[in-house]
């Protein structure tokens, strides 16, 4: 124990404690600290009076304001829904032509659908609907199940190969794996399908063209232009789902494809789906 000294800098004395050379000043607690302790404790006390705070056995102090996060949230949601109720009801019930004819309603639809698209569709269909391997591009004019709002809203509602009872259904058979075509024929068909992008040649006498007519034309059409609304792709344009390179086409022919789009009926409201349909319908024009 050392003796009590006076610190020349601050003017305070030391406490007399000495830990191997470390000393402490016996300075008072600064007034500011005491004031801030009072202020923060008063703030806490006010919080306790106003808000639910202290547990009391099976219940708790409810606070003067009687707020509760669950009821507050429910009230907020109800208020927000009320503010949108009128035009959302029209969105859900008017036919698409009527909505398109109403500039105010149409503006609300596109404004609301943009973040809806970002939250729900973009993870697969990509930013601005550019698509990706396995997920069709939405910003082009190639539609598989139809590009009108009516078609699109149905696709969103029931999905493709989904669990919905009215689901759209499509399957590309595994021609190779299921031994409908042998590997030489698959190779031949791969080149032929690739060549279709340059244009379909009618009455082509080649072996590949014959194979196409025998195996593929039933779905993709005799002119290879597909049939909208059946899931059979137009093979003569530049749009692909699984890729137009030789390896991807070979895979498609060999092992088949069965894409999946979920049904959104239980996740999105009718109005949401219809707004998304209008938004997706307008997408091709927006990118160009």
């Amino acid at each position: 124990m050392s003796k009590i000294e006076r610190d020349p800098v601050t003017g305070y004395t030391t406490t007399g404690h000495d830990w191997n050379g470390i000393k402490e000043l016996n300075s008072p607690i600064p007034r500011a600290v005491i004031i801030f302790i009072i202020v923060t404790h008063l703030a806490a006390l006010i919080g306790w009076i106003l808000l639910p705070t202290w547990p009391l056995g099976r219940t708790f102090t409810k606070g003067v304001l009687e707020v509760d996060q669950k009821t507050d949230l429910a009230a907020d949601i109800a208020a927000a829904n009320t503010a949108r109720a009128d035009w959302m009801a029209r969105m859900a019930t008017l036919d698409f032509d009527a909505i398109r004819a109403d500039p105010d309603l149409m503006a609300r639809a596109l404004e609301t659908a943009a973040p809806l698209f970002g939250q729900n569709c973009e993870p697969c269909h990509g930013k601005n609907g550019i698509g990706g391997p396995g997920f069709p591009q939405l910003s082009d004019n190639a539609w598989i199940w139809g590009g009108t709002s009516e078609d699109i809203s149905k696709t969103i509602t029931v999905g493709i190969n989904s669990a919905h009872p009215d689901s759209r259904f499509a399957q590309m058979p595994a021609f190779g794996r299921d031994e409908m075509l042998d590997r030489t024929q698959i190779g031949m068909m791969t080149s032929y399908v690739q060549s279709l992008s340059n244009g379909f040649i009618a009455n082509d006498p080649s072996e590949a063209a014959t194979l196409f007519q025998d195996n593929c034309a039933a779905c993709h059409g005799e002119d290879a232009r597909g049939v909208e609304g059946t899931g059979a792709l137009n093979l003569t344009d530049a749009a692909w789902i699984y890729g137009g390179d030789a390896a991807s086409i070979w895979q498609t022919l060999m092992n088949g494809r069965e894409g999946h789009m979920p049904t959104w009926q239980s996740r999105l409201s009718t109005a949401d789906i219809r707004m998304l349909a209008l938004y997706v319908e307008a997408m091709p024009g927006k990118l160009q």
Binding site: M1, D7, V9, T10, T14, T15, H17, D18, W19, N20, G21, I22, K23, E24, L25, N26, S27, P28, I29, P30, V33, F36, I37, T40, H41, A43, A44, G47, W48, L51, P52, T53, W54, P55, F60, T61, G63, V67, D68, Q69, K70, A80, A83, R84, W87, A107, R108, E111, T112, A114, P115, L116, F117, G118, Q119, E122, P123, K127
Partner: protein
Amino acid sequence: MIAQLSRTERQWAAVLAILLALLGLTMAIAARQGPMAVHGFMALALGVGLFIAVGSVLEKPQPATSRLAQYYDDPTKVGIALAMAWGLFAMGIGLWVAALMVWPDATFGHAWMSYGRIRPVHTTGVIFAFGGNALIATSFHVMQRTSRTRLADQLSPWFVLVGYNLFLVWSVTGYMMGVTQSKEYAEPEWYADIWLVVVWVAYLVLYLRTLARRAEPHIYVANWYYLAFIVVVAVLHIVNGFALPVSFAGAKSYTVFSGVQDAMVQWWYGHNAVAFFMTSGFLGMLYYYLPVRSQRPIYSYRLSILSFWGITFFYLWVGSHHLHYTALPHWVQTLGMTFSIMLLVPSWASAGNAIATLNGAWGRVRDDATLRFMFVAAVFYGLSTFEGSFMAIRPVNALSHYTDWTVGHVHSGALGWLAMVTFGAFYSTVPLIWGRKAMYSAQLIEWHFWLALAGLLTYVFSLWNAGITQGLMWRTYNAAGTLNYSFIESIDAMRPYYIARFLGGVLFLAGICVGAVNIWLTVRGVRGQAPDRPLALQGAE
């Protein structure tokens, strides 16, 4: 180094090494395959290695009794070296994690490189490996000096240090193999958790035995904080770790808590890991090295008492502020919020006490980068604790929660406070315990200081901006009454901030590299004369 142990201590060390090897063998045999078997083999290898190392000097003569007239600093030396090695590793991994936010494909298709696995490697590595080794190393140093006594024995500090680092290696390698309890900052699985309890109890016993031998009538403030760190972390770790293993032959376990109770226990743990690991322990460090380095008395003993008990009492209530606007009942949230507000003054009293201590030593703060590290640490301690209390207020939290503001806040604490005070403490300790006049290069300490400060500021400013931008984007409504931005748009908007944060990380990592080189060159350098603090007259061991 091992020859410094007495013969009895060497014999006990050999026994412990055999037990460790047997433990590892048992784990490996029980698990047969998978991460637990790998960890068993690690323990086996470590046990065998230690046995060989101890066995080779087992029959050497007793060390000179003159050792009893000196402090026992070998564990501190190893602890500092380990802390620096872990720091380089964990901050390097942190930089990689930051890079993943900008270039998400940088996992190269390997599961162990994925974000979910290396992120806990970074957090555990910085907080528990870098910070934990720094705390253990400095606590050994500080408790001896402030008690004017030697460590109670020479073996248990090694048990603590080696055992703790085995826990760390198990944790970090486990994460990479996919082992996790899915509790933030408490990811290691049950066997690692149990092992840590054993190590931690040994640490507490060593600390208490050493304090009991003190030659000073009072216990110094730094030791209060180190003790609070050891005791409360034990309580937190044990309660949050209550879990049932699926099988004693495998790594997976399930916590005994469920639903919102689990969340509450986890964040009671999580927040107090911040409080008692990252705050209390490092305040112990600050309370020793700041007055020693500045050669000033602690500004106010009364403020020390006020802030110690304020921090210890209030922190334990505030964990629920991590669960605002969740399934946690509203009243628990209010409690967490109001106690967070009351916590501010004791926290600021600590920071203020440290800064006021520097009155009369500002010239040294200007000239001595080591002291400046500690000054900046105290300032960032004050800033972070204010920010923390502010973010605990529910409406503020509504904006900040789940955003990168939280990440910025943690780094203002971890880089600005924890790392800064550690570097200050290391630069004060290293020359002293290795018997050098000073650090190899004062210029390199300056470089380290400015790199660290630049990195820190770049990091926290970019994430403050990122977090507030995110929070505002998530709550912006358009005229139609719908959220204006999709989540992915808010991610897109983060890119420039994430690049800036990455650059901040580069600077901070560059700083610790400079520091590691400087410490290395100091240790390798010419032995000089460094005046240490006197030891009280020691009795025989």
